[in-house]
Symmetry: C2
Subunit: 435 residues, 2 copies
């Protein structure tokens, strides 16, 4: 039964400053909702002396000032990155503190171990802000959807890539131009690899899939492909076929195995996810009882992130004030295995440059047939100036990744095929009905 809850902050960057600001400005409102005051006491910063939103007397350069202070009840980690955040989180837990973190990398790589350590110490780890900014997604998995067996998670959880892809779809520009536009607006880092290669999305999917399927899904278990190979040409064909292209993070349970992957995908234009544009995020979930549900909002930024962080602080503070035990960690069911990527089935879009002569098409269909892949549609178009090369676009029915790899090797070896220009998965079979 605490009559005052004290908070220590690790990190005072953009998000840290927003959280500190919200705690200070909303002190009265938060106290009303918790039942007692919640006070920001200490803030770990990397450099002293810069002008800050908080009183200089709170600032410290020494992590022990926050982690070892028995007065601090809740440690809020907003440093990002694996090190030293991971160590600090564990130290805070070992000191018996409640922990709030927005750190997707640490929670993706070490989440279950951190939860176990917290459970041993009788404290809780809250991490709503680690996925989807202020959109409630961790909360629903830990509480609201707990009566469901989750069947599939399909998410747009990286705002940078979604902004780039939205620009490409709308303006017909190529990846490089869209990336520059994103960088100039501050939506992409000068070194954008973490986003455009799908690594950030894979971290977030690891967290969502572990929560949703009660199975340990590590970032390295997730087949990950970025968006750098997409061209304006691919978007034109997508539109012609009734699709747009999104970077999807997909996890689903198939035959008792968990399949998890991040890659660009054709999404039907009338799918709810197709209209999620710009820096917005959306998490679409299929549960056995609830059917399809979707959560939508801004997936990043100081406002949305501090919304999630401060909500976690309020939840923990309510429990400390009322003397409640912490929420039980989500139990993992050890029997669930990850599905090898070779077994993953999807439909495919292939764009090929072929020699423009009779019989070529028969050779392509023979190669696909030998890999037991059936064609769904064909477009042949846009011959080059000389007329020697034609562009062929194929879509296939369901094929395993293994079969497609065999087919692609065989296609590349055909003398009549100049180039396999792109291969993109088509996601529409598990599309929930909208009416």
């Amino acid at each position: 039964m605490k009559e005052e809850v004290n908070v220590g902050l690790l990190g005072l960057g953009v998000v840290g400053s927003a959280v500190a600001g919200a705690l200070l400005e909303k002190e009265a409102m938060i106290a009303g909702r918790v039942g007692c005051p919640v006070r920001l006491r200490k803030v770990l910063v990397r450099h002293a002396g810069k002008e800050r939103a908080v009183s200089p007397s709170m600032l410290t350069l020494d992590p022990s000032t926050v982690l070892d202070d028995p007065e601090i009840d809740i440690v809020v980690e907003l440093m990002g990155g694996e090190k030293p955040a991971h160590d600090y989180l564990l130290r805070a837990i070992q000191k018996g503190k409640q922990v709030v973190t927005a750190n997707k990398e640490v929670m993706a790589k070490f989440g279950p171990e951190i939860m176990d350590a917290a459970s041993t110490m009788g404290v809780d780890v809250a991490f709503e802000a680690s996925v989807g900014g202020g959109i409630p997604v961790v909360g629903p998995f830990r509480l609201d959807l707990l009566a469901n067996n989750i069947q599939q998670i399909t998410a747009i959880i990286n705002g940078t890539t979604n902004y780039i892809l939205s620009r490409m779809a709308k303006e017909g520009i190529d990846f490089d131009a869209a990336l520059k536009a994103a960088q100039s607006r501050g939506y992409a880092e000068p070194d954008p690899r973490n986003d455009v290669e799908g690594i950030d999305a894979a971290y977030k999917l690891a967290i969502l899939a572990t929560l949703g399927f009660h199975a340990r899904v590590r970032p390295e278990d997730i087949f990950t492909e970025g968006i750098t190979k997409l061209t304006a040409q691919d978007f034109r064909y997508a539109a012609e076929l009734g699709y747009t292209i999104k970077l999807l993070a997909i996890a689903r349970e198939v035959d008792g195995q968990i399949e998890a992957r991040v890659h660009p995908a054709f999404v039907p234009l009338d799918h709810t996810l197709a209209s999620v544009n710009g820096v917005f995020n959306a998490v679409h979930i299929l549960g056995d009882l609830v059917g399809p549900v979707m959560f939508y909002g801004r997936g990043a930024g100081p406002g949305p992130t501090s919304s999630a962080v401060v909500a976690d602080i309020i939840d923990l503070a309510q429990r400390l004030h009322s003397g409640s035990v912490m929420r039980p960690p989500v139990p993992l069911e050890k029997t669930k295995r990850l599905r090898p990527v070779e077994d993953v089935e999807s439909r495919y879009y292939l764009r090929l440059q072929v020699v423009n002569r009779p019989g070529v098409f028969a050779q392509i269909t023979r190669v696909l047939g030998e890999a037991e892949i059936s064609l769904a549609s064909v477009i042949q178009k846009s011959e080059t100036d000389s007329g020697r090369i034609a562009e062929v676009v194929l879509t296939t029915y369901e094929a395993t990744e293994a079969a497609m790899r065999v087919a692609l090797r065989a296609l590349s070896a055909l003398p009549v095929i100049e180039e396999v220009s792109n291969v993109i998965r088509v996601e529409d079979t598990s599309r929930p009905a909208r009416n």
Copy 2:
């Protein structure tokens, strides 16, 4: 610290049977997630003898068998309607039981009193299923969005009317034909008044607004208008102007006052709510930190509703098992007043039948101008066979309800106006950016 949690059910209709089925079929999964078994013990039914999903030994016709049994920890009310559900809920609370309910009418009319009674007894009232079926909406307001000052709630929360309006928009049919289609598919009751007059949506908005704004909003405080006056003609004009028509439930804070209303509204086609079709529901929330967030899914039916009810049971059972105190009720801020409907501002669409002669338009604009209402657009069309009457469609800029009432009275009194055929609010000013 309960090592077993016992549940009593009030009502075994469609939803009750689904909840009973889920508790029985998912017993092992639920026990794993709670930490101890959760057992269905007693079920109150209205008539004995019918074939049921649960063992006949559990059934009772006597409410005291459930309400007064000291063995029962959680009472789940799924009877619907105000009486006797309201009395039973209060009796259960007075007996110190945790309570779960899906009853929107009771929670809309008496929610704060029921929460107070529960708080006095140290128990909790969980009511996630009362709004939006299985879509988490109560949970987010009670927890995930608690760091925000909520600015606006805009919701499609009645599946029956949304189904009817989606059919009207898609097929160009009139209200009566769409209602018949909804009735034949079981989406509308034989007596559809509660849905089509907006009463059901007003109950749900009362619950959402009370939670979101921490202010008591009663169903009778909500300006409520149904969808029965909408015609195929209105949908044609809406499409022409770039809109569709939805039954919106809107609550927002304006100058410290809470405005709450349910009525048909023009919604821009590129608004996220415009693509919520059929029986789907969506709740769009604007918070000061999080910005816009939206929750989407099936708003009714045994599956979605049992998803929410069983999640509430799991949450309460976890707390009983761990010996935790119940979640504190949302404190109401008594200072917030309801905004009189006369002060509510919106844009308007007006469809008029006018005598087709010079100078008529000048008379209309003069009347509107005297009420200080500015025109945004005008369409004049579809003269009748005789050519005597023309149809005029106007849209206006922001006007108060009071000003519009004055204008409508004056318009109706003009000899050149045959009929004011329809008046519909246009909701796009508070539209969140999508990019």
